[in-house]
Symmetry: C2
Subunit: 344 residues, 2 copies
């Protein structure tokens, strides 16, 4: 496959790590990056070493781990601190203006309103962008909003991959593959563990959102809590939050890919904000019936030593590569990660 | 994705099970099948129930399990016993003559000479076939022969997927996905278990080939042994053959996909010809280094209850679907299964 030029919108945790990891990957050239007030564009390829150093140290070092939903860590210094960057009032527009040179765009923007990512995508459509757009979100409702734009993406020539991070991306991809033994999938159980001690301060927003998934809470209730009240909820659980039946897009994306009904998918996990060790092993279990009448469970397990950051950013770039291939072959629209796997 | 019409060349174990499983899959219509002396073609779709019943019972029932290399089981009755079939002296040519109506061809032919599959592919090229061809072989050397034909495939419009069965297909696909946590893959360990009691008689040829992988034997040595001598070798091991460092295409295919060097891949397994229970659990272990400096091992494990047959034929159809999508988008040439996964 030919070389792929890509842009990263957002230089928080996800964005910085994407740049970092791309240095180790074949055929990926970062040509643009932006944050709220700065933009760096170089069609020949950004100097990632300089950019990461100038803006706050190596992404792999003291940077916050990525969170399960791809939330970004707090930025250290603005991108404008890099010698390659310029200050700007319209960073995304600046990247769009250069998008003729960009094969793929990874959206590593903070999760603000639910429609923030879809609205950013609209701006690429309005500019007639042809290429790939990837997000690493997890919320089911965003996928519906993207689906409403499928015709617009096709008209523009955009291949949009949604939810390409650790979960749903990596883990639904694994489920789609593990399903291949079966003629009918009975259940998909996705169970994740995240240790977030050193990244806790940078991920308060995400942790707050996670609290909404605990029994007795919801997004509305959590929005009105003070930081101290959130802290009390976490303290009461010894820093360990366990989640069952989360609203994760995994179910929707597996149904889209024809693997099983959304109702057959369960997602849960354990977040430990007082340890960097994973409190539980991230596992995907796919149970199904084989053509010869047996019932079995295939399993995919991530080593506890692989950080959530590694498991968000590696797959995001892997799916980005797959999507560029689709895009170059003229396949446009909205895809879930599992749809980029072998068919079921 | 639109409906896919497909043909199966060969109606031994693999071919029959492909037809059987396709009944349970969305969007797959078998339109042609052939064996040595018969051919059945119906662009509206074959009646698989009748075809399997007429030619020797349900594929999922008393039929022999598929072998690790996709070797076919002995045929029961010729395809011509089916009311849908006709006798023919040139079954493959008959299918080729109808290939305008065929999106994909699964080669489930016996492993005869190494170049048998490549030469069958040549005949499709000569006829100007545009579509997908899939094999479920495991031998590395065949892939080289197919690669020599890549230009011819591109000229004709053929997307050829080689080794799409359990191994290398399913398991290298899993390795490609499991690698996504890492920036560098240090090792891929593929370890399979097959219980072949009820399928032993039908798989003597494959077992003989497997014996060549035992310490102290090679293909030349094994070719000259009598059935009794083979039997003695197996008896001396209590019916259980353990293999290390096999010549499997997994290594070549993972290198092609850019996952790791072929030398970093090891393939082994245990074959028990006196039990249908798997003597060991089929597992893929991918060890690598993450961008943040950790070393970990991600694992993919198939339930012992999933038969080798299920694990050959499901993935073969899954990759076939993926390949049809590539083919329709104009991507031609030779692909390993891992190349149909997210990029590394």
């Amino acid at each position: 496959m030919d070389d792929i030029s890509f842009a990263v919108l957002g230089t928080g945790g996800i964005g910085r790590r994407t740049l970092d990891i791309s240095r180790h990957k074949e055929g990926l050239t970062p040509v643009a990056a932006c944050d709220r007030r700065g933009v760096a564009i170089d069609p020949e390829g950004l100097d990632v070493d300089e950019l990461l150093a100038a803006t706050g140290g190596d992404a792999a070092g003291d940077d916050a781990p990525a969170t399960a939903d791809g939330g970004t860590a707090v930025e250290r210094r603005g991108l404008a601190a890099s010698a390659q960057a310029e200050s700007t009032d319209a960073p995304i527009d600046d990247v769009i203006a250069a998008s003729d040179e960009i094969d793929a765009v990874l959206l590593a923007l903070p999760n603000l309103e639910h429609d923030f990512i879809p609205r950013v995508a609209d701006r690429f459509v309005d500019a007639g962008y042809e290429g790939v757009v990837v997000d690493v979100l997890k919320r089911s409702r965003v996928i519906g909003m993207l689906d409403e734009r499928a015709d617009a993406f096709e008209g523009s020539g955009i291949t949009f991959v949604c939810g390409a991070g650790a979960t749903p991306g990596f883990l639904t991809g694994a489920a789609a593959l593990a399903a291949q033994s079966f003629i009918e999938v009975e259940s998909v159980e996705i169970w994740w563990g995240v240790g977030l001690k050193s990244g806790y301060e940078d991920n308060r927003g995400t942790v707050r959102e996670d609290v909404a998934h605990l029994d007795g809470y919801d997004l509305d209730a959590v929005r009105d809590l003070t930081d101290e009240e959130i802290e009390e909820i976490i303290d009461a659980r010894g820093g360990v939050l366990e989640f069952r039946d989360m609203e994760h897009a995994d179910d929707v994306l597996l149904e889209r890919a024809g693997i099983c009904d959304a109702a057959d998918v369960t997602v849960g996990g354990v977040l430990d904000v007082r340890s960097d060790e994973k409190p539980t092993t991230t596992t995907v279990r796919v149970t199904g019936r084989t053509f010869d009448g047996e019932t079995g469970t295939n399993t995919f397990e991530l080593d506890d030593a692989t950080s959530m950051a590694a498991n968000v950013n590696g797959p995001a770039l892997g799916y980005l590569k797959a999507a560029v291939r689709r895009n170059r072959a003229g396949e446009y629209g909205v895809f879930g990660p599992a749809e980029l796997m072998p068919g079921f």
